[in-house]
Amino acid sequence: MATIESPMAGKVLEINVNVGDTIAEDDEIIVLEAMKMENPIFATDGGVVKEIKVKDGQQIAEGEVILVLE
């Protein structure tokens, strides 16, 4: 079981994956807002999304888990 962690701090603007989706490495998974800039965050790993750990509008820290993959 792999996890994808946030590479930077920011506020979750968009979540572009659903539980059950199959994603590949480098797919855009969420968009984070930091410094008034929208930052797409890309998957560091591929797999089937088992759990999404963040919510829309949530402030997340660097290193926080975004997705759990199967």
Binding site: P7, A9, M35, M37, N39, I41, F42, E62, G63
Partner: protein, 370 residues
């Protein structure tokens, strides 16, 4: 007949000349850019309106009596407004990335190299030494600091240099990327940086206090800007005066921006603005800004020769003080090379250090040239 004649004489059509009309057109262009294109509208709109007003024949900039003259005199000539803006910028700034990675302070200082290069360039082009200093500081891409320095050294240059500085702040995404691509290789742009450590509240509280003590002792003439900047930052980080911090960032900032914009615009009457020197200022301003970017990149390369943990040289370009535009540009250029490279927060370190760097550079000019 006499009545009509005296009516005509009381009007100001007679005092119009072609220069005024040219300035109106420039003011209209600025208004268009602000309203239709959204270029820095908070500043450009009042600046454009100030330009228009000052180029209508009236006494509005008459020393001792005109309204805009009073705004200008008490706000800028007395150098009150730029430090108040710094209070707000201080309250908006998070020094976390600098504290987590103090090496970035060096990059914030390094980018000021462009300021000094341009200073000498302007001297060669026959500007006097005080004017050259004000033109050089445009390289920091810091509007308030440019206005502050102009008020101390070359008030006649204030309007044009302020417009140039704010233009370059808006042009960060245009001017910086080509310089950045030119001075780095693809593999250097791909360097990923290790995550920043967590910074404690206590460190954030001590940072502005220690900074203001050190900088004021070393460069006393930067005290007005840095004093206000550090106070604003302490208000933010202490967490006990949320109301003051919010006021400094929002209401106060907005209020002084109105007075700053309109009176900076008013310092550009046609007689002063429509001279060849103005073109020189804009060209040298570009040199200053591109030069500052190059100096930051160069210094980052130099640091990498000694560092075990390499930094991405792109963050050196964020050493100019256009916050957070320069950091965003680093992030974007970095992602062009590797889309999973997230440089934004790493670039914020040199970027906020650049604000301090430009204010210190201005203070140094004042101490030497006043």
């Amino acid at each position: 007949m006499d009545f009509l004649l005296s009516m005509w004489q009381s009007m100001s059509f007679d005092n119009l000349y072609w220069g005024h009309i040219v300035m109106w057109l420039i003011a209209f262009l600025f208004m268009y850019l602000a309203i239709a294109k959204g270029y820095e509208p908070l500043l450009l709109l009042p600046i454009a309106f100030g330009m228009l007003l000052t180029n209508l024949p009236s006494d509005i900039m008459q020393p001792g009596q005109g309204l805009l003259w009073r705004f200008y005199h008490y706000g800028e000539e007395w150098a009150v407004i730029p430090p108040l803006i710094f209070l707000g910028i201080g309250a908006m700034t998070d020094f976390g990335p600098v504290i987590a990675n103090p090496k970035t302070l060096i990059l914030g200082a390094g980018a000021q190299g462009g300021v000094y290069v341009t200073f000498f360039g302007a001297l060669l082009l026959d500007f006097n030494i005080r004017q050259a200093a004000v033109i050089g500081i445009i390289g920091g891409a810091d509007g308030p600091t440019t206005i502050f320095l102009a008020s101390k050294l070359a008030p006649e240059m204030m309007g044009i240099c302020a417009v140039a500085a704010y233009s370059y702040m808006a042009l960060v995404p245009v001017i910086q990327p080509p310089v950045m691509r030119l001075l780095t290789t693809e593999s250097q742009r791909k360097i990923r940086m290790k995550s920043l450590r967590k910074v404690s509240k206590l460190e954030k509280i001590f940072f502005p206090i220690i900074t203001v003590i050190i900088i004021t002792l070393v460069v006393p003439d930067a005290a007005a800007l840095m004093g206000m900047f550090c106070l604003g930052n302490l208000m933010r980080e202490s967490g006990v005066v949320e109301r003051l911090s919010q006021t400094a960032q929002n209401e106060l900032m907005n209020i002084v921006t109105i007075f700053l914009g309109i009176s900076v615009g008013a310092t550009m009457p046609a007689e002063l603005f429509l001279t060849p020197a103005v073109i020189g200022v804009f060209i040298l301003g570009t040199v200053a800004f591109a030069g500052a970017t190059a100096c930051g990149l160069g210094l980052a390369h130099l640091m990498n020769l000694f560092l075990k943990e390499k930094i991405n040289p792109l963050i050196g370009a964020a050493g100019v003080s256009a916050v957070p535009m320069a950091a965003r540009v680093c992030h974007k250029v970095g992602q062009e090379a590797d889309k999973r490279n997230y440089l934004l927060m790493h670039a914020m370190g040199p970027n906020v250090a650049g604000v301090i760097g430009t204010a210190v550079a201005a203070g140094m000019f004042i101490s030497v040239l006043k």
